[in-house]
């Protein structure tokens, strides 16, 4: 604040001559100042390169190949990250596990955002009975901690889907289940944010104008109001990716998530604590990758919040 008033008073002419910044430039300016967010972006790019570029060097069948003769071997030249309890190469598994973990994080958030926007938008726009019914459902979902719901739902949907073949690769059907249940158990906060945005935005003149010229409701909701509330949605969705990756890690760690042989960073840790004193490499590598990913996404989300939505900052 002090800085801007100072520079404005020293260079009043500059202020008049420079063309006004576009929204994108403004956002980028604010984002650029957030060093940790830039650090997060760089680390995320490296992690994506690791998970998707690494696949060029090691095949998935190698990642899933068991060789009980070399089980629980420490890091060596052949297996740089060591081998797991059935002799699979941990380096290769962190590469393919990373793909699945990142995929789950991104797609679960798509579902979460879709649900959150729909429920929040309808509740906020229509108000009245629709609002109270939808918000009671939201409250009911919030009443039970997410991990408990995830466990119950993982059991409910377990073993229902066959393996899926996509792009020449076979995935355990549990990947889809996990994506679905993480999306279904995490939309509540987003719905509340969207609802609050809609409640205040729908009172604006532009909505009244749109309604006056007979714009259909669907268009008012999705083309007039929604774009105006995109900033908090983007921030919340970004942080949601981190949360989804953590949720996958927790549920897979408990053995109820993605089923082997499909690797994820989470299920690689399942049972690792049985070998805590003999084979620390079982959990160190996938665990570190999870922490790095989640940390970077949280930094990125924090930077986005500062850049897109400076007023909402709480801490």
């Amino acid at each position: 604040m002090v800085e801007t008033t100072l520079s404005a008073s020293i260079h009043p002419v500059d202020e008049l001559l420079t063309p006004p910044l576009s929204l994108r430039q403004l956002v980028w300016r604010r984002f650029r100042r957030h060093t940790m967010a830039l650090f997060g972006v760089v680390v995320l790019i490296l992690l994506f390169t690791y998970a998707f570029g690494g696949a060029l060097f090691l095949t998935e069948s190698y990642a899933n190949q068991t060789e009980t003769g070399v089980r629980l071997q420490g890091p060596s030249a052949v297996h740089p990250f060591g081998t797991d309890t059935v002799g699979r190469d941990i380096l290769a598994r962190t590469i393919y596990g990373g793909q699945i973990s990142l995929l789950i994080g991104l797609t679960a958030v798509l579902i979460e955002t879709g649900f959150g926007i729909l429920i929040g938008a309808f509740a906020g726009y229509y108000g009245g009975v629709v609002d109270s019914v939808l918000m009671r459902i939201t409250e009911a979902m919030l009443n039970i901690p997410q991990l408990f719901l995830l466990i119950v739902m993982a059991k409910f949907f377990s073993g229902k889907l066959p393996n899926i073949t996509l792009l020449g690769r076979t995935f355990s059907g549990s990947v889809v289940v996990i994506i679905g249940i993480i999306g279904l158990t995490s939309w509540m906060y987003l719905a509340r944010i969207v609802r609050a945005e809609f409640l205040s935005l729908k009172e604006n003149e532009f909505v009244l104008a749109a309604r006056a010229i007979g714009t259909p409701r669907r268009e008012i909701i999705f083309q007039h109001i929604l774009p105006n509330s995109i900033a908090p949605i983007v921030v919340s969705a970004t942080l949601g990716v981190a949360n989804a990756i953590l949720s996958e890690a927790y549920i897979s760690f408990l053995g109820l998530g993605v089923q082997p042989p499909t690797a994820t960073w989470g299920n690689m840790l399942d049972g690792a604590y049985n070998y805590i004193d003999t084979a620390p490499w079982l959990w160190v590598f996938p665990g570190t990758l999870i922490v790095l990913t989640v940390l970077s996404i949280n930094f990125l989300g924090d930077g986005l919040r500062d850049a897109l939505d400076p007023r909402s900052r709480v801490a």
Binding site: M36, R136, I137, E139, A140, N143, I144, P145, L147, F148, I151, V152, M153, K155, F156, F157, S158, A242, L246, A249, Y250, F253, L254, L269, A272, Y273, I276, D277, P280, W283, G287, T288, I290, V291, V294, L295, N298, F299, V314, A315
Partner: protein, 344 residues
Amino acid sequence: MTRYIIRRLLQAIPLLFVISLVLFVLMQNMGDPVATMGGRSVTRSADRERLRRQLGLDKPIAVQYLYWLVGNDWTKIDLDGDGVAETPGQRQGVLRGDFGASLVNRGKPVLQVIWDRLPNTLLLMGASELVIIIGALLIGIYSALRQYSVIDHVVTAISFVGYSMPIFFIALLTMYIFSVNFKRWGLPYLPTVGMFDPGVGKTTGQVALHMILPVFSLSFIYFAGYSRYVRSTMLEVMSQDYIRTARSKGLPRPVIIYLHALKNASLPIVTVIGLDLPLLLAGAIVTERIFAWPGMGRLFLDHASRSDTPVVMGILMMISVAVVVFQIIVDVVYAWLDPRIRYS
């Protein structure tokens, strides 16, 4: 105020009803409870049939829910499978405080099963919550008063890492350092699993020793949220006019910080703590699993994996009721602490 509380309680009833209904439907695919009953498999199909009838599993789900909710002592059930209901039911139903009997610990009432574990969980979670609150207050106030100092930045960075870490990672890491490696180096090391050493017995010292690692892990993960919150509310309060007034009339700094500022800054913190308290009952699923702590989280996990639906339902409903009740309590306490708030 009394009317407000009554209205909130009345609103809670349909909410809990919907939750129980949804959960009951979700329970239907937990697996075959008869297959894992009593820890041994019941193989003869005639026995299975009889057991399913005894447990009421042969009934349609709507009837099962009805029996779970209001019991079946008002009707007769068919035990021998001849199609004629002749035996009077025994169950009282949740509304009369009967959550049924555990299927795994055959015949043991659900409430008893939960009650056996609850103190362990409350001990672990209560200790963690206490460490978190005290730590967060100290660190939060410190970094608010010295905003952008080196320590503020370090604390911010550490709390970001803690916030981003899955709890099993910090748990495994501390186990590896303080237990495995300390033992290897011949240093005094910390125990990793259980609540006490069976060779020594359940003494206060033993339990405290076994609590160090799980409490540390839990605090490390949940510390971030609280300390950031304390910091931001403190920053907000410290910039207000009445603090400047207090300063200008020459009050000593500690009086300003702890009596004037903290009092108002702690209002929103009370809300956050109050809303987290019911979750202490639920325990920590992952932490209790890693450290083999015999609490509610592990109870839930064990019984969920063995399709013991009465216990799982009991735990989830207990959490829901606690959350609803604490929400009301927090609202009431908040209005009492902050006279500006009035409920109509």
